[in-house]
């Protein structure tokens, strides 16, 4: 891990990220900055699934449940306690607790991976139905109405710690993009740590990891909890960004979107889900301008294309292609005379 901190790739990624974050608001329009903020938040959510699925091999198809729980927890806590500090805390604690319960039953019950996928997705769908029935004045937590299918309006924005002033558009962008960069770098470090290496070895061969003496169940639970915390934090930023959180974050369409980002970007990489998220979001925004285009059709076609045509995803495919090219170049070059 300490070696990774000094590795040129890591430092380059950190430097490039910081430069991008600092430079973008200087020349981009406010509208673009506003949109890029939510892309960054969604990319953080994609990263959380990239960790759970790509690195841990757990098919967490209900990652949206933790995102939504984070959003709702933030909204309710921020409305009741005024200020985003308690909101952010609640947005991490609640999803982690929910993940601990689901994870305990799934991993300690040793449910097979596809079963786990279906169970985790079902949790999200049930939350969708549950939240949808909470319209009316009877359903409120403190001063926050749950609002049923109308969602919670006027969610407080993020504010600077210890100061009441809410963040501007640029400030929100710095916060969202900063969160994305911080999570990305932290997960890179995590994957270099002992814990991360064991998580990958569990993904590669559960039996072998177990025979080497690791408690596979604990490592699965650990990576699942970290994923839930990241998704919850992203959910809080999402609710703060739009000043709104509604039950649609629990819908099957939203869950599908996250899977497409990660799948298209590439499993087993951390930058892949981020790229996949930006590409799909830009693509759906662009296609949405055409008349008669249905978001479900677009997403469905992307989904099928990703599985059937690009099963490895963008980043791993590009990596192996450039690798082949370099090798071909090296082979074609003039041979060094033997010493």
């Amino acid at each position: 891990m300490r070696r990774e901190l000094r590795a040129p790739g890591f430092l380059a990624a950190a430097g490039l990220g910081l430069v991008l974050i600092a430079a973008l608001p200087q020349w981009a329009e406010v509208y673009t900055i506003f949109n890029l903020s939510v892309y960054a938040v969604l990319a953080t959510l994609a990263l959380s699934l990239g960790l759970v699925w790509g690195m841990g091999g757990l098919l967490g198809f209900g990652q949206s449940a933790f995102f939504g729980l984070g959003g709702y927890a933030y909204a309710i806590a921020a409305i009741n306690f005024a200020g985003s500090g308690p909101g952010l805390l609640a947005a991490i604690v609640l999803p982690v607790l929910a993940a601990a319960v689901i994870g305990y039953f799934a991993f300690f019950g040793r449910i097979s991976d596809v079963y786990f996928a279906v169970i985790s997705l079902t949790v999200s769908l049930i939350l969708y139905n549950l939240i949808n029935t909470t319209s009316g004045a009877a359903y409120r937590i403190g001063q926050a109405p749950l609002g049923g299918y109308n969602g919670i309006p006027s969610v407080p924005p993020l504010n600077l710690p210890f100061a009441g002033t809410p963040l501007s558009f640029e400030g929100t962008f710095y916060a969202a993009a900063g969160l994305l960069l911080a999570v990305y770098l932290a997960l890179r470090l995590l994957m270099r740590s002992r814990f991360g290496r064991v998580v990958v070895s569990v993904r590669e061969s559960e039996t072998r990891a177990e025979l080497l003496g690791y408690d596979v169940r604990l490592y699965k639970l650990g990576v699942f909890l970290i994923g839930a915390a990241v998704a919850g934090a992203a959910g809080a930023f999402y609710a703060a960004w739009g000043a709104f959180i509604g039950p649609d974050v629990f819908s099957i369409g939203f869950a599908a979107q996250i899977i497409v980002w990660v799948l298209l970007g590439g499993l087993g990489t951390l930058i892949g889900p981020v790229i996949g998220c930006f590409v799909v979001q830009a693509l759906t925004a662009w296609l949405g301008e055409f008349e008669g285009s249905n978001p479900n059709i677009v997403l469905g076609v992307l989904f099928l294309a990703a599985v059937m045509l690009l099963p490895k995803g963008i980043v791993p495919t590009l990596r192996s292609a450039t690798g082949r090219l370099m090798r071909a170049r090296a082979a074609a070059g003039p041979r060094e005379p033997a010493a």
């Binding site: 098919l59 689901i102 305990y104 039953f105 799934a106 300690f108 019950g109 040793r110 449910i111 097979s112 991976d113 596809v114 079963y115 996928a117 279906v118 169970i119 997705l121 079902t122 949790v123 769908l125 049930i126 139905n129 549950l130 949808n132 029935t133 819908s251 099957i252 369409g253 599908a256 899977i259 799948l263 008669g292 249905n294 978001p295 479900n296 059709i297 677009v298 997403l299 469905g300 076609v301 992307l302 989904f303 099928l304 990703a306 599985v307 059937m308 099963p311």
Partner: protein, 288 residues
């Protein structure tokens, strides 16, 4: 006494509809190891085929028992050819590809069929149970579920096709070595699963109505039932539907329908902690 009979009818109805919703999925999963995420949309298409056929002047029973299953079976066979056949053995990829199909179907149905389809009223009127009354259609749904269970059991247990299909399910390589055309068996099995789903969609359409997104409301319960059921498609689904349907209906009776669904899910998660391979992974092993 009357109240008890009424509750019994409602519990039986909940079990029957859960079984109908899930059994098409269970056949495809149990026999082929394919999790079809577009299963909810198969039910949706079955419902639409039935309702549109009735409005076009087709006889009610003909539309329900012939038009809807045939339409969905046809679509199922085509999908098996175009998508699923290329992904056998890659169970996660199949899930993802059929999820894409599911979104595609919802999108296409939203664009072409829309959200304002007039439904079909359930026949049979009301039936009196002492001081109470309940819809006669409830009894019909229970009867259809029983008939589907019996019919599929007979098909798998007592016919030559059933024998070959069960053999292929146990050991595809051995079945192929003995001269079975495994691809054809899979194709027919998927078609049968799709046909049953189409029938289920049609049977439930007079009660639930038809909209492009109705599959989503079915799919969570269908998946849970199949997973809790375990390896045997018929016995497992029937047992899981009986257990979960009863829990669902009992909770609904003392609270709301949504809490009934929540109770169903919680019961399933707790059950899978102790029976990770489902009910038939532990009991009644080797049954159909």
């Amino acid at each position: 006494m009357d109240a008890g009979a009424l509750i019994l009818v409602h519990v039986l109805y909940a079990v029957a509809s859960l079984f109908l919703i899930a059994v098409g999925l269970a056949i495809v999963f149990g026999m082929m190891g394919v999790i079809n995420f577009a299963h909810g949309e198969f039910l949706m298409i079955g419902g639409f085929a039935f309702v549109l056929a009735v409005h076009a002047g087709v006889d009610f029973w003909l539309a329900m028992f012939v038009v809807a299953p045939l339409t969905v079976a046809l679509i199922g066979v085509v999908i098996e050819r175009l998508v699923i056949r290329h992904l056998y053995g890659r169970i996660v990829d199949t899930v993802l590809a059929t999820w894409g199909l599911s979104l595609l179907f919802i999108g296409i149905a939203s664009e072409t069929l829309g959200y304002f389809q007039e439904g079909v009223a359930p026949p049979f009127g009301a039936v009196r149970i002492g001081a109470y009354q309940t819809g006669g259609y409830n009894f019909f749904v229970i009867a259809v579920a029983a008939a589907v269970l019996a019919g599929l059991y007979a098909l798998l247990r007592y016919t030559r096709f059933g024998l070959i299909a069960r053999g292929t399910m146990q050991n595809p390589a051995m079945a192929a070595a003995l001269g079975t055309n495994v691809r054809a068996v899979y194709s027919v099995t998927f078609g049968i699963g799709a046909a049953v789903s189409g029938l289920a969609g049609a049977v439930l359409a007079p009660i639930a109505g038809v909209v492009p997104v109705i599959g989503v409301t079915y799919i969570a319960e269908a998946f849970i039932t199949v997973i809790v059921g375990g390896a045997s498609p018929l016995a497992g689904t029937a047992l899981a539907a009986a257990l979960l349907g009863t829990i669902n209906q009992a909770t609904t009776f003392v609270s709301t329908a949504v809490l009934g669904e929540v109770a169903l899910l919680l019961a399933a998660i707790v059950l899978l902690r102790f029976l990770p391979a489902g009910i038939t992974g532990r009991f009644l092993r080797g049954s159909v």
